[in-house]
């Protein structure tokens, strides 16, 4: 019988150091994963803690009053909430058909695969352009270009409250358009991925009973991909609500409420970017309150998105 010493597998008995490393590594990764929870909790604590004063002073009236006046120290966030919801929802209305249409176009065989690949790549590049650069472009190129159209809208339809003011340059309408540019890549990319995940056998089934391309898209392929597309749409709604730089640069940062999309306005994110640096006293607290509202809005949209994906998933 050989002695234990001569066993060539010295590590047969796990050394203590190995056990410690193994255990320690596990604790380390648990700690790192916990950072997510700590961060979320910290963000909530800082924002909620900062807004307590304002919540105490205004309560829910903060949501529905539109006066925002640092001089008289009175604050209500209705203008910014209206701007946030209006710009994000209207931009969604424009971006969804464009994005889903593009996604269909680059997943179907209308044009050669190389061209489809090129368009897909360009959409992804569009997502890589920073918000602040799009803002710069919006100020100096896009807004002057679309102003004649906006003036025409005002001249012809001024009886509609949404078009009731003279465009003066920066405003909600150009902000909506730049938001469209920002969320288009998200909607397109997610819709494309969802469409690509529809199994080939469903497409074959539709073609097999004699469906045309668009009959199979609208009746079979889109319904099968709708859960992913809806999730992507809601995700981009969350993005649009929280989008800051490009909107701040082009929306005009006006605290005066106006229904018209041609007038300057504000969003919560733009207001934060614009005023937080110079604010003091109770204005900081009111800005924190507005930030809390923005957080809750985006949180709701994100949770709703996850629920929607589950709800709409078809079995196939």
């Amino acid at each position: 019988m050989p002695e234990f010493k001569s066993d060539p597998f010295l590590l047969r008995r796990r050394s203590n150091s190995e056990k410690i490393v193994d255990k320690g590594f596990k604790s380390l990764v648990i700690l790192m994963a916990s950072m997510v929870a700590i961060l979320l909790f910290g963000i909530f604590l800082v924002v909620f803690g900062g807004s307590i004063e304002s919540i105490g002073r205004y309560g829910l009236a903060f949501l529905v009053t539109s006066e925002w006046n640092p001089v008289t120290d009175k604050y209500g966030a209705f203008t910014a909430i209206y701007g946030t919801l209006l710009t994000s929802i209207l931009s969604l209305f424009i971006a969804v058909p464009l994005g889903v249409g593009t996604a269909i176009f680059i997943t179907e065989d209308v044009i050669p695969a190389k061209l489809r690949f090129l368009i897909g790549g360009m959409v992804e590049l569009l997502a890589a352009i920073p918000s602040v650069v799009l803002g710069l472009w919006a100020i100096f190129v896009m807004e002057p270009f679309i102003r004649p159209f906006l003036i025409y809208l005002n001249n012809s339809f001024s009886w509609i409250p949404f078009f009731s003011t003279q465009p003066v340059g920066p405003g909600m309408a150009p902000a909506i358009l730049i938001l469209v540019v920002m969320i288009l890549p998200i909607i397109t990319a997610i819709s494309r991925d969802s469409l690509n995940q529809v199994p080939k056998k469903l497409r074959e089934a539709a073609y097999g009973v004699g469906a045309t391309r668009w009959a199979s898209i609208t009746n079979v392929i889109l319904p099968a991909a709708i859960s992913g597309i809806a999730g992507g749409v809601l995700l981009s709604l969350g993005r649009a609500m929280g989008e800051t730089m490009a909107v701040t640069m082009i929306i005009g940062n006006s605290n005066n409420f106006n229904w018209s999309i041609l007038s300057p306005g504000n969003t919560i994110a733009a207001m934060l970017a614009n005023q937080f640096g110079e604010a003091d006293g109770s204005q900081v607290s009111s800005l924190m309150f507005a930030a809390l509202i923005l957080m809750l809005l985006t949180l709701l949209v994100n949770i709703f998105a996850q629920w929607m994906v589950k709800k709409l998933s078809l079995k196939y």
Partner: protein
């Protein structure tokens, strides 16, 4: 890359024709060429002609959608639409311009495909609530409902258990009174059971290439193919010596 070559076949109307051969010999490719399903594959092209009632299906003016309405298809994997059983039948009929009583069509189609008894109480449920064999018969019913002239079947039983297979074969016997059927199978017993005529395909390594290219070896009455084939390769295959 070439998948299959040298195929000259005259498929008789009103009969069941089986395409058999080892895997990779291009049976499915030939089948899918008949109703232009290969159009869905980007890199696929065809040299030669496919004639249907005297029309070249690959002629310049031919509408592939029209072709598929006349030549229906049942696929290897059951592929119901993610819709209700009722809608699975109604969808195809509707886009084919059916104007009659939809309930009646759904019922007769499901009955013809021998799946009515399993479905009649759950027409509103998803097609995917059925078992694999029932799904495949639903797909057959869906194809029948569009009233094609020819039904192509691409190994319709390969994903199914023996009992479901038997039921589908019975259905095929029923259907051949009304439709021309072309069936691809790698189960020789099945070919023998259901078909009137059989085409045997084989594959050979491509010259200078890495893949295999398929070709038609022999086409004759099923009885002849299985009992006294004229080619040795056919004899070897049907007697189970390879493949």
């Amino acid at each position: 890359m070439e998948a299959v070559k040298n195929v000259f076949l005259e498929i008789p109307s009103g009969k069941v024709t089986a395409l058999i051969g080892p895997s990779g010999c291009g049976k499915s490719t030939v089948l899918r060429a008949i109703n232009r399903m290969n159009d869905l594959i980007d890199s696929c092209s065809l040299k030669g002609r496919v004639l249907f009632n005297g029309n070249d299906l690959y002629g310049i003016n031919i509408d592939p959608v029209e072709v598929r309405r006349r030549i229906g298809m049942v696929f290897q994997q059951p592929n119901p639409f993610p819709k209700s059983i009722y809608e699975n039948i109604a969808f195809g009929a509707r886009i084919n311009g059916y104007k009659g009583d939809m309930d009646f069509l759904v019922e007769t189609s499901l009955k013809q495909a021998a799946v009515w008894d399993e479905c009649k109480d759950k027409l509103k449920e998803s097609g995917y609530s059925l078992s694999g064999g029932q799904q495949q018969r639903l797909c057959i019913a869906r194809t029948i409902a569009t009233k094609p002239e020819v039904i192509l079947m691409d190994e319709p039983c390969s994903a199914l258990d023996p009992i479901s297979t038997l039921k589908i074969e019975e259905t095929i016997h029923e259907l051949k009174r009304e439709f021309t059927i072309v069936i691809v199978t790698h189960n020789m017993q099945q070919a023998l059971r259901v078909s009137d005529k059989t085409a045997f395909f084989n594959a050979e390594p491509q010259k200078g290439g890495s893949g295999k290219v398929g070709y038609l070896v022999e086409f004759n009455n099923t009885e002849k193919i299985f009992n006294s084939p004229s080619q040795k390769a056919t004899q070897d295959y049907v007697s189970g010596r390879f493949g």
